[in-house]
């Protein structure tokens, strides 16, 4: 499986006109004939694009998980669909960090709530006492 789009120097989402122009521009006869044969026929292009999407995804996953040199990633596919490593990796660690942050927020909120509840209770009690002192002094 070769990456014809890359060889033609266009994007997958390129329009038919763009593809035709790129094919006309292409100098390599092998690439040119493959592109004409596959990208100019709707049904073939659809199937090719589907596999292309899968392979692009696998290339991405492999690059991010450090599997670009694994034994089953080789030949044409590995040459055309490997991408350079980027900073996006370790989703699991990211999830753990998120959960830890959520836990921290939760704990802080619980503390704040307790303080608020105590404060509210105390102020309610004092205000009730004050009211009784003012309006029913004969009770004391």
């Amino acid at each position: 499986m070769r990456d014809i789009y890359r060889r033609l120097d266009i994007h997958v989402s390129a329009s038919d006109a763009d593809i035709a122009r790129a094919i006309a521009r292409c100098e390599n006869q092998a690439v040119k004939s493959a592109a004409e044969h596959i990208l100019c026929v709707e049904s073939r292009k659809r199937e090719y694009d589907q596999l292309y999407g899968t392979l692009t995804g696998i290339g991405l996953l492999r690059a991010r998980m450090g599997l670009s040199h694994a034994p089953y990633w080789r030949g044409n596919v590995a040459n055309d669909f490997s991408i350079s490593a980027d900073d996006e990796y370790a989703r699991y660690a990211e999830l753990k960090a998120k959960v830890a942050r959520a836990v921290r927020v939760h704990d802080t909120w619980q503390q704040v709530r307790r303080v608020l509840l105590w404060g509210a209770g105390l102020s309610l009690a004092t205000s009730v006492g004050m009211a009784l002192m003012v309006f029913a002094p004969e009770l004391f």
Binding site: D3, R7, E27, S33, Q50, N79, S84, A85, R91, L95
Partner: protein
């Protein structure tokens, strides 16, 4: 740090009774979906229902199906990491058996499923030799090389073979032609790389010898299968298995052949980028980084380390090492 909200799959994972099973289910669903058909057939749905029953978690599979059919590679990466973390030892093989069953459930493997299966094998660190044994065990026929829809011959062979009943013979012929055409393509494309060509010829000879041995093994094995009454199953698979091995040897073409090709797409910058990708580096890598990465990879993947293993492992290792070395040499020339 990306967005701090939890994605749907993360929520699912957190609420699941067993993280690893949820992750495994997503990966299996992805494998089932990458068969090149858009619609989720009833049989596939039944299969997924079946699988969901086996796993220990408390959720339905609707979200999983949605994620797998898009497919959402962020979720898939998370699932893969979880799997890598939790599945060790014999459990890996159990999972791979399940995966092979899912993939071969509806007849022959689609090209996409080939690649996904191989990714899963690599992910769990199961060596190709072991994985091929597993595949043969579960599917009843050997693992063939994936089809290549980027080759003209693939379409000619397929569309030529579709109407007739004598498809088998025609297909075989076409495969042979593809083999030759591919070879021609190779030869014409790397101008002046004589050493490379010689190496390739040597390699082809090796491949032929290997192929013959493989053929013998297959014959013996077919006989055994027939004996135990798995007649039809093994036949169907056999057909798809043979012939494809021909060009498998050529799928090993190294980085040098690729970079030697001057037509159309390959400008210097892109070549440098791909060389960096081979070494697993970022675009702004310095010369010292490149050297360090090369030394690390060379130590890790040097063919001598695979000496004790099978012939095939040696060949794979030396090709991989060749690719790394070619990338390094290219980058050093650029930086000189």
């Amino acid at each position: 740090m990306a967005s701090s909200r939890f994605t749907p799959f993360e929520r699912l994972l957190l609420s699941s009774r067993n993280e690893a099973d949820t992750a495994a289910l997503l990966l299996l669903a992805w494998l089932a979906m990458s068969d090149g058909q858009d619609a989720l057939s009833d049989r596939k749905r039944a299969l997924l229902d079946d699988l969901t029953g086996d796993f220990r978690h408390d959720h339905g599979h609707q979200l999983i199906v949605d994620l797998a059919s898009t497919p959402d590679f962020v979720a898939l990466q998370l699932a893969a990491e979880v799997l890598q973390r939790y599945y060790r030892g014999p459990r890996r093989e159990t999972f791979l058996r399940q995966a092979i069953h899912v993939a071969t459930h509806e007849g022959a493997l689609a090209a996409g499923q080939h690649h996904v299966l191989r990714f899963l094998a690599d992910l769990l660190g199961v060596a190709p030799e072991r994985f091929e044994v597993l595949f043969r065990d579960v599917a009843g026929y050997p693992l063939a090389a994936p089809e290549d829809p980027s080759a003209v011959d693939h379409w000619q062979a397929r569309e030529g073979a579709e109407p007739g009943g004598g498809a088998r013979k025609k297909r075989r012929g076409a495969d042979g032609e593809r083999f030759r055409a591919h070879a021609d393509d190779q030869e014409s494309s790397d101008q002046g790389a004589r050493a490379g060509r010689r190496q390739e010829r040597q390699h082809r000879r090796n491949e032929h010898a290997k192929e013959e041995r493989e053929e013998n093994r297959q014959r013996r094995w077919r006989w055994r299968r027939d004996d135990t009454g798995h007649h039809e199953r093994s036949r169907g698979g056999q057909r798809s298995g043979e012939g494809k091995r021909h060009h498998e040897g050529f799928s090993h073409e190294g980085f040098s052949h690729e970079s030697g090709r001057t037509g159309g797409y390959a400008n210097g910058n892109e070549k440098a980028q791909r060389a960096l990708a081979v070494l697993g580096l970022m675009e702004n890598a310095q010369k010292s980084d490149i050297k360090r990465a090369y030394r690390r990879l060379a130590q890790k993947y040097h063919p001598d380390r695979y000496h004790a293993q099978s012939q095939e492992a040696m060949v794979t290792a030396s090709l991989r090492f060749q690719r790394i070395k070619n990338a390094y040499d290219y980058l050093m020339r650029q930086h000189a």
